[in-house]
Amino acid sequence: MTEKSNFEPTIIGFTCNWCSYRAADLAGIARIQYPANIRLVRLMCSGRLDPTFVLKAFAEGADGVMITGCHPGECHYLEQNYKALRRYLLLRRTLVAMGIEAERLHLAWASAAEGIQLAREITEMVERVRVLGPLNWHLNGDQVQITHDATAELEVVA
């Protein structure tokens, strides 16, 4: 096990094309520094977020996952971020049932104008996960010889 003090978590962040990805662009343009632990995936909308993506990230070695999107009421696709919110709430319960701390999954809204806010959310997320320590879910998985077909796991839960 990695010692906690040296532990650098890896976070996968899902962004939507219209708000939070642009917020990340804005953070860049404004040179707002945040920890390099986060790696972003662009989707068209937070509504595109298949819960499998989150499980895949954990299975591949991510220590935390962030879902970001437009603020409620500001979705480019009218209301699809509400669907992301619903999935997020259910997914957190599922993660707990799987033995993963709910704090490892975080939802944050950021408009295209909120580079500072997104950078702050990322910084806070990294610190939260740093405190939790490494997930090592992929190792656990290898030990108990379960398949990584996350879709199948999800269907069992559902």
Binding site: T10, I12, Y21, R22, A24, D25, A27, G28, I29, R31, I32, Q33, Y34, P35, A36, R39, L40, V41, R42, L43, M44, C45, G47, R48, L49, D50, P51, T52, F53, K56, A57, E60, G61, A62, G73, E74, C75, H76, Y77, L78, E79, Q80, K83, R87, A119, T151, E155, A158
Partner: protein, 664 residues
């Protein structure tokens, strides 16, 4: 290990020193060439400026000489240069959608400073780009023909302007108005600030133009019921309410109105200040000039007797059997100009509107000033005869007030100054303006303010606490007393007046939310419709083909409403002239064999793009309606919904790439 099926080129940009100062770009390129070779990377290069013509030529030459089938460029945000590199690929004969731009500037070099960590993260990002790109498909942009007809909703000044601009440019326009006549709020006004020209004199010629223009189909007393389709091809259903008057026969002579025995309080056009008949036109200059029958108040529909209008109509144009009609037509674009509602001043009970009879709201006062209004332009108290000797005008009623609307309604200062001038000119009364700040930023507006100051209007800076009729002093008897802290002298004042005018703010239409849903656009928290960009795109919305103009976007004065109406029309006309529109091919589709017909996806689509076929018991996505959000793909339990550009395989591969161990 299998031989990779793709030949991938990776290009890392220095962006001058924007990237290379933090990221070791040579190392990233070398790493990609070695470690990603098994994924199909055949060449990895770095260049000072990938977006320069030299950088682009580098990509083009490699495509031709090395036979690249995929290209990854690691540089700035795809929102900046995705198109540049796609075009470069296209020039070299590669499908533009087989190029992936990943951001190592906005997401790495500009936000991180540790070189080792930044270089590692860049490698992970490049690896995710390569992994994802393998699953890319060659795509073609979708071309949509643009129907040259346009629907304009709302016949106020903004809608009228948009309609005329389009019609004059030769395009057919359907103008739909809920009331019996076009004209909107501007038709209710007497004078317009700051020039004080007569509102009707400048508005009615435009209304007449709309009425007779060969390119305009004017549908008044009508409402849009349903909108289906997408930019270029909207199917619109409009309910034409039964006028009970056959417009082909009616000459607009007005005899039916004259003979109708029933008086009805007109709470729309006359804001409850005057009566109209049960068969009526809202005002003499109405366009069109055909009357409508108010079924709730018509004696015949109530008791089955009367029919006075029918008896006296010289052309037999009255038809009691007429029913609502559903009109269906197609348009390419839609302009919403549905305007505003006045803030209901009864919500501020301390100002006594609705309780103290001589407290008026701004629209009531507009009607009173209007020569065709209830008092024929005489400014008098509610009794209809007494001329006020002192008048108080209260600004910001319902605006700039956290209990009601936080925003400034923008027109009330100028409107109040206009009222002050009209009161002074017509009655010689003392006028008091109670304001928080005077905001007169338009052309000629501040000059107008100075003119009113010089005319002798009193200005009291302070938010009025209360309007009351409870007299404390003998001189307050039978007066309305305005209790206010005059913040410029730091004292409480009680100012007795005969009449109070509340400059009520503007609010979104009470049904703005439902209308927004009907047209698939969104409202801000206040309820105004959201423009595509607050500065750079103020008349477009996030929904392609739907534009907004006038107060529907936020409070504004007449010149700004007209400018927006014309701007929206120009945008639409531009689209019409192009004839067709290219759309990004990011779309979802359903594999019919895998669809179980559970219909989970059907209700998730905000664009009603998913149709269910009873015959096959499967769902199908209309590619032209689909906007590509991907919610249905994520929801399908059978994995039967697939999407281009963001398929499950692409995203899962991208996640694998991002989490690749880059330390070795």
């Amino acid at each position: 290990m299998n031989t990779p099926k793709e030949r991938i080129g990776v290009y890392i940009c220095h962006c001058g020193t924007n990237i290379s100062a933090v990221v070791d770009v040579e190392d990233v390129a070398q790493w990609a060439a070695n470690k990603l070779e098994h994924k199909g990377v055949v060449i990895a290069r770095d260049h000072k400026f990938m977006c320069s013509s030299l950088g682009q030529e580098l990509v083009e030459n490699d495509i031709k000489e090395l036979g690249l089938t995929r290209v990854v460029v690691a540089a700035c945000s795809p929102h900046l240069h995705e198109k540049t590199f796609r075009t470069a690929c296209e020039r070299a004969g590669l499908n533009p959608y087989l190029c992936e731009l990943v951001s190592i500037r906005e997401q790495v070099s500009w936000v991180h400073s540790d070189k080792v960590v930044a270089t590692q993260k860049s490698k992970a990002i490049v690896s995710s780009g390569v992994e994802r790109l393998i699953y890319h498909e060659a795509l073609e942009q979708l071309s949509v023909p643009i129907n040259p007809a346009t629907l304009v909703v709302g016949g106020g000044i903004a809608g009228i302007q948009a309609t005329l601009e389009l019609a004059d440019a030769g395009s057919p326009v359907y103008l739909v108005e809920r009331e019996p006549s076009i004209g909107g709020h501007m038709a209710q006004f007497d004078k317009t600030f700051p020039t004080l020209d007569c509102s009707a004199c400048i508005l009615t010629p435009k209304m007449v133009d709309v009425g007779i223009h060969p390119n305009i189909t004017l549908l008044t007393w009508a409402e849009v019921e349903q909108v289906n389709g997408y930019v270029g091809n909207f199917d619109v259903t409009v309910r034409q309410k039964a006028r009970k008057v056959i417009t082909d026969l009616c000459t607009g002579c007005g005899i039916c109105i004259e003979k109708c025995p029933k008086n009805v309080l007109d709470d729309i056009y006359e804001v409850g200040m005057n009566y109209r008949k049960a068969v009526y036109t809202p005002f003499p200059q109405a366009v069109p000039n055909y009357p409508v029958m108010d079924l709730d108040n018509c004696i015949y529909f109530d008791t089955g007797k009367c029919k006075a209008c029918e008896k006296f109509c010289p052309t037999n144009a009255i038809d009691f059997e007429q029913e609502d009609e559903m009109l269906k037509f197609q348009v390419g674009n839609i302009i919403l100009a549905t305007g505003f509602d006045l803030f209901d001043a009864r919500k501020m009970s301390n100002y006594g509107y609705g309780r103290l009879e001589n407290v008026f709201n701004s629209l009531e006062f507009e009607r009173m000033c209007n020569a065709s209004g209830p008092t024929e332009g005489e400014i008098v108290l509610r009794d209809g005869v007494t001329t006020p000797k002192a008048v108080g005008i209260i600004h910001c009623v319902g605006s700039r007030d956290k209990s009601h609307n936080a925003y400034c309604s923008s027109i009330c200062c100028m409107q109040s100054l206009k009222f002050a001038h009209l009161v002074e000119e017509r009655t010689g009364a003392h006028v008091y303006n109670f304001y928080i700040d005077i905001r007169t930023p338009g052309k000629g507006y501040d000059e107008f303010y100075n003119r009113i100051v010089e005319e002798g209007t009193h200005f009291v800076r302070g938010k009025v606490a209360e309007v009351t009729n409870a007299a404390r002093q003998p001189d307050e008897k039978k007066k309305l007393i305005i209790q206010v802290e005059d913040t410029l002298i730091g004292k409480q004042r009680r100012i007795p007046v005969d009449m109070v005018i509340l400059s009520a703010g503007l609010e979104p239409r009470h049904d703005a939310k439902e209308v927004a849903k009907l047209f698939g656009i969104s409202c801000s928290a206040d309820g105004w419709y959201i423009e595509k960009h607050p500065k750079l795109d103020p008349v477009a919305t996030m929904t392609d083909g739907v534009y907004i103009a006038g107060c529907v976007q936020g409070p504004k004065d007449i010149p700004a409403s007209i400018a927006q109406g014309a701007a929206a029309a120009a945008r639409v006309q531009g689209k019409i002239q192009q004839g067709e529109m290219l759309m990004e091919p990011i779309r979802a589709s359903i594999i019919e064999e895998q669809c179980s017909g559970c219909r989970i996806c059907n209700d998730l689509c905000p664009y009603n793009a998913i149709l269910y076929h009873d015959a096959t018991m499967t769902s199908e996505i209309n590619a032209a309606l689909c906007q590509g959000c991907g919610t249905c793909i994520a929801a399908c339990p059978a994995g039967a919904v697939i999407g281009t550009s963001y398929s499950n395989e692409q995203v899962l591969a991208q996640i694998e790439g991002l989490l690749m161990d880059v330390s070795v």
